[in-house]
Symmetry: C2
Subunit: 343 residues, 2 copies
DNA sequence: TCTTAGCACTCTAAGGCAAAGAGTGCTAAA
DNA sequence: TTTAGCACTCTTTGCCTTAGAGTGCTAAGA
């Protein structure tokens, strides 16, 4: 545990730097936070903090800037004494999201937009479709040998996909197939179903029953659902941030790969389980391209299960306080919405 | 018609500037294009071109830069003597897109990515769902009073939406409803169906038959499909272009509004009908925020009907030649794919 | 022993200035 | 009509200086 005075100064520097991205000097903090120390004392303390690796100097006679370790200390502190996400924000969000409850994806799109009010990047993603559980699956033949698969999960996810068969299948066969799948696999996790089907396929192949093995093939294909990736909003404000002005291309590239973002969100989401939200700061990021970004994320649940993640992506000097509150409040509202205390 | 010499110089300037966004001087063009004129002559010609509004000078002693009118002349010229989109590009695209044929949206996503190889922004959009024609509609009840609507259009578009009713409806009723809609409206344009339903609703209201009017209400809601907007790819390279370095925020904001982009694409697409592709250059853009961008777009068809649009968005000094070829070739390949000369 | 005032020092940012370079417009000759 | 030549304009670049911000160190004060 850091001496109180050290911590106080460190947090003052972090907060100042979050507000305006200029190196912050000793005089400045003393004035701004009305400390009882003199600038000289603060300078000594800052020198100590720098030695410990929490601050750094862009050049010898400039103010100090927090390092990622500095942010980390600050964030951990927030985590510990975090006040319950303010009621006001919760109420606001509830009101704003009320008319979006229709289906999960529309909801998440809206949520991303709400989160972008942080002036950073708002993101929201449903849990991987393959981890959800089957509520219902329907197959329709269409345009010759194509089959449209529509899957509804218990989590409110709807996904569709088109598959093409070598030969047409009769509508009656398709109907029978859907019914079979529904009655047999209703409530199963998509992953399990797929696993099971693969096993059965190999058995059937041995038996060489053409009809059944064909049916299984259709089912197997049907369950390879496209992952709907991540909803993002606020790109413009985010990229317009002064922090990035020199390396827009790099930053844009980092968040353009939705797969990466999705994976990070998921990981953070599971990590946050108990704490409410989790934060990944700059160089802590396993993805090299995102080392100059921070991510705040929180999972939302449905019927106890984790159903997806929301988050805010910003520069390392982002307003963690606010971001955490927003993200947690949002997650909570989504969880409420999904728990269906609806009309 | 411009004197041949004038045109030659103008095009040389345009092409140079497309390659590198620096004002181009008289000496430079003479050297680069091995003209038989001297720099002095070129200067005279350039002065003429400037007077005519095709070139401009950033400052008195700088080289010349094309104006939007200059680009327009250049593009019209390309349009006129446009060689058939090279076979090579067509073949390449066919190969690359072969395994994406599954459904329209996956295809368009891939197409956008292909187009972003231009190092500009690749965009692709299906025609408005409301303009497509109904192949099939299905309604399932789900989680209490929710109904999932799945609609398949003849154009290969699949769209789903969730609607919530004040009271649950029995599965049997829903099934009957779907069947009714399918048998009665199969092949109709979505817009027409909606129009028709509105009319009937008002009649029924007069008759006060609760059950029927309720059914009609469901149908009406069911057909208000979300528009799937635009697929984009290549954001990072696009925003990294030196042309925008100073105004990234502005540019990002301009293309963040997918509705606007969609509308522009549609308009350009219809405009291009005969010509293969259409080009909107800088200040010609009706949308103020996009006045520093150019758009090249081409429609693709299915069974004679326009089924969507693909395009490239770039800076005004974009490589129109290449963009037009790419866009046209892409549109053609999509049209081929959709016409279903498939396995 | 800890804090603070004072001061010399360092480094950047901003402004001024001159020189270099690129490109022009004009004029007069071919 | 074309082009060579030349004076002129304007930006870019580098260099220098100055102002300002902030530091680290030292020595005095509590």
């Amino acid at each position: 545990m850091l001496a109180e005075r050290l911590q106080k100064i460190l947090f003052a520097v972090v907060q100042s730097y979050i507000q305006r991205p200029d190196p912050v000097g000793s005089r400045y903090v003393v004035k701004k936070y009305a400390f009882s120390f003199s600038p000289a004392t603060v300078r000594n303390i800052m020198a100590d903090l720098e030695e410990m690796g929490f601050l750094s100097q862009p050049h010898t006679s400039a103010g100090r800037v927090p390092t990622d370790r500095g942010y980390r200390l600050y964030v951990n502190h927030l985590l510990r004494k975090r006040r319950r996400a303010e009621e006001r924000m919760l109420r606001l969000l509830r009101a704003r999201l009320r008319n979006l409850q229709e289906d999960l994806e529309a909801l998440l799109q809206g949520v991303a937009r709400e989160l972008s009010a942080s002036s950073y990047l708002g993101v929201a993603a449903p849990a991987r479709a393959s981890r959800t559980t089957l509520n219902r699956i329907e197959l329709f033949g269409y345009r010759g040998s194509r089959v449209a698969v529509v899957l509804i999960s218990n989590e409110g996810l709807i996904r569709h996909r088109v598959i093409r068969l070598s030969r047409p299948v009769s509508p009656a066969d398709l109907r029978r197939l859907s019914e079979y799948l529904n009655s047999r696999f209703g409530g199963w996790a998509i992953d399990e179903i797929r696993l099971r089907l693969v096993k059965e396929m190999s058995q059937e192949k041995a038996m060489c029953d053409m009809l059944i093995s064909r049916a299984l093939e259709i089912c197997g294909k049907a369950l390879e659902l496209p992952e709907q990736g991540v909803f993002m909003a606020g790109m413009a404000d985010f990229l317009g941030l002064p922090d990035f002005s020199s390396r827009i291309g790099e930053i844009a590239r980092a968040i353009e790969d939705k797969h990466l973002v999705l994976r990070l969100l998921e990981e953070l989401g599971t990590e946050a389980q108990e704490a409410g939200s989790a934060v990944l700061i700059g160089s802590e990021n396993p993805v090299k391209e995102m080392r100059s970004l921070s991510i705040v994320a929180a999972p939302f649940r449905q019927e106890g299960r984790m159903a997806g993640t929301v988050g805010i992506i910003g520069p390392t000097r982002m307003d963690y306080q606010r971001a955490m509150t927003m993200v947690e409040a949002t997650a909570q509202v989504i969880t409420e919405t999904l728990s269906g205390k609806e009309s």
